[in-house]
């Protein structure tokens, strides 16, 4: 399957399929409704066009209840869609985040106009950050006095993930609202300054995917791109190791990233 085309992009996360199912189902129903409706509409326009000697037939209010039948059908379809599909799937994707003990953890601190990807390192703990430490060489303001920060890895615009394992991304922003969009994962979530929003994803395919920003964030909004690199667990571990020591200080300065 082609990664990008005229339809939905490649699907590469555990829940992408259930989102796609909804999109396909709704479009099939939409087209069905529109075609049936369109045929009826055209039929009425032709049959009841003005003809000499034929005057309009008033219905005197009869059939009003009957004409609500299409509405009732639409309503029933919507109720079923909500109860069977929307609420359960929404809960699975947005509410039931996997327990953080079993998941891989990453934090993303968005800024104008790059994605700072923050890995906790071998200790599994994110170091403290403080705006007062923000510097060209320390884009998210990691506090290196905090022991948990010593092994942290910060890289701009490159999100590495292991395949087949849930990853929780703690999303926030340092300046304005951005939105993390990874089309192949069908993942989208706003990054709001002052809020830490957890989103999760289990990648199902190895490959390189795209991060784009979906919320207007200023001048370079359209250029705020990143890459997602999904690797096997072994490759991912090896990559983490290679980045491990002092990569925070050596990471790509965000302002040069795009």
């Amino acid at each position: 399957m082609k990664q990008y085309g005229w339809g939905l992009p490649l699907s590469a996360s555990s829940y992408a399929g259930s989102i796609d199912f909804g999109i396909y189902l709704i479009h099939a129903v939409m087209i069905l409704i529109f075609v049936i409706w369109g045929i009826f509409f055209t039929y009425l326009l032709i049959k009841y066009r003005k003809k000499t000697g034929v005057s309009a037939q008033r219905d005197e209010g009869h059939g009003v209840v009957k004409s609500l039948i299409p509405d009732i059908i639409v309503m029933v379809f919507e109720i079923v869609l909500i109860a069977v599909y929307a609420i359960p799937v929404w809960s699975k994707i947005k509410i039931d985040t996997p327990p953080s003990g079993k998941a891989n953890m990453v934090a993303i601190e968005a800024q104008q106009w790059s994605w700072n990807i923050h890995y906790p390192g071998p200790d599994g703990k994110f170091g403290k950050t403080d705006p007062k430490y923000v510097h060209f060489s320390n884009p998210i303001g990691l506090d290196y006095k905090d022991p948990a920060a010593k092994d942290d890895i910060v890289i701009a615009n490159e999100l590495h993930l292991p395949v087949g394992k849930p990853t929780i991304i703690e999303l926030t922003s340092m300046d304005v609202i951005h939105s993390l969009f990874i089309p192949e994962f069908r993942l989208k979530q706003d990054a709001v300054p002052g809020m830490k929003i957890p989103v999760w994803v289990t990648p199902t395919k190895i490959g390189t995917f795209e991060i784009s920003c979906a919320q207007l964030c200023g001048m370079a909004h359209s250029f705020m791109r990143g890459r997602v690199i999904v690797q096997s667990q072994a490759d991912y571990d090896a990559w983490l190791k290679s980045e491990a020591p002092k990569s925070a200080a050596a990471s790509v300065p965000a302002s040069e990233a795009f």
């Binding site: 990008y4 909500i82 359209s222």
Partner: protein, 576 residues
Amino acid sequence: MAHEHQDSQTRKSFYHYFFSTDHKVIGLLYIVTALVFLLCGFMLMLVMRWQLAFPGSPIPFLGRILSPSLAPNGVMTPDFYNALGAMHGTIMVFLGIVPLGVGGFGNYVLPLQIGAEDMAFPRLNLASYWFFLLGGLLMLSSFILPGGAAQSGWTSYPPLSIINPGQTVWLVAMVMLITSSLLGAINFLVTSFNLRAQGMKLSRLPIFVWAQIVTAFLLLLAFPPLEAASVLQLMDRIAHTSFYLPQGLVILGMRHIASGGGQPLLWQHLFWFLAHPEVYVLLLPAMGIVSEIIANNTRKPIHGYNVIVGSMIAIGILAFVVWAHHMFISGMSAVLSDFFLVTTMIISVPSVAILTSFVFSLRGGSIRFTTPMLFALAFLPMFGIGGLTGLPLGLTVTDIYLHDTYYIIGHFHYIVVPGSLLALMGGVYYWFPKWFGRKMDDTLGKWHFWTSLICMNGVFFPMFIQGLAGQDRRYYDPMAALHSVPTQPLHVVSSAFAGLLFLAQLPFIYNFFHSISHGEKADDNPWQATTLDWACPSPPPHGNFTKPIRVYHGPYEYSPAGHKTDWLPQNEEVLA
């Protein structure tokens, strides 16, 4: 007396037009001003469409005139693109469609249809127009003021809107426009409930009037929160408060001076609390116009008058509890989203009921395909497409993927442009004979209709395909994201149709101004209509009606049994 009347007729000065308290003069002022603003907003979009079709290439003609700060070497800058986008949205919604549908048609037609001499507060009415005009001119002039035009989208989400230039003028202009709408809304409500002619019971009101009443309630109740929200945002900008700014912001490597404690989502809640009802403000007057035109041109009463009116009222109430479906992925509680999902699906029920009633109104009719009727009929399938494509956006799960893509742009443009705007244009053709005592040219009108309909679909339909491919909205360079590259040719298609759509409006502009003085003469009731707006001279004199008005029937007594003609005016008594 006669001499005096003639005298005032001949001396139609600037003062007469711009300071008249006559609802008809104010209504026409609104209509012409709004149409001019619509054209301005459309031209901004044409410039943007060039960049979208051919990213990074110099804009033809205009590129040479624009200042290098906006378009160096004729290529627009990202900031200028963002400014055009923000202003396009703002102008089309707040300066175009709403003033046209409410200020324009509402002002002119509503008092006539209820048999009133004027609005309840004629001077307030004039004040409302002047707030609108000054707010609009201020908004437009922001392009040449220091800091330029606002560039944070018509939604103006903080913190971006607080750190971006140009936003202060936007906020001040918005406060003026909101004030204008509030004055208008109060006036419409008082007029509709107190100045009805004898016998004009609520159950005899034309659907257009009902639509205006519901619209006025929406404006009156939804705008004040945005007015307050705008003032708070203004304070964040000029007085360094932080209603919308959290602690510890770092802007481009610099710590922001705001003390913090604010919440960016607060603005989104307040904004959408207005802006979702605003969608129905864009839509309801159009539906009102469609009702009038369909009843008149099918020559039978509208099917399900009570269903339509009840649905409009239901929409008016539900419109206040659906706003956060714009915020499913904003970071708002995911549990709260389920509530707004349910209310959003509920509000589709009355909308479908209205659409179904319109369609069933055609059954048994004797359909005259006049120019206004073509516009009203096209509203039905176009609103249908707009409504149906709202389904995957209103559904939380599918919205995750489609949110903020071109899909949503296609969706709301279908509602507003080939939906509302077509219906409003139909309204222009329908009431033009009332305004000027002359008809607009029918052939030009039909050309205008078919070319506009085709071009509008050509502009907006490709956006659904782009949206499904994941193309993000508000992108200066649509080719910057890899997933948008395959559908780039569709941008060229959209842009080409946008250019043609502009050309398609030229016959309308010519037809409008030419017909004012040269159109075919029309009598008082050229469409053989039943409502009271056709029971007065064309154009109506000051005070509207030349004889006392008393209402005996419902609004759409077409083809009544045993009557000599196929229409029975509301004010005509049938003696048994």
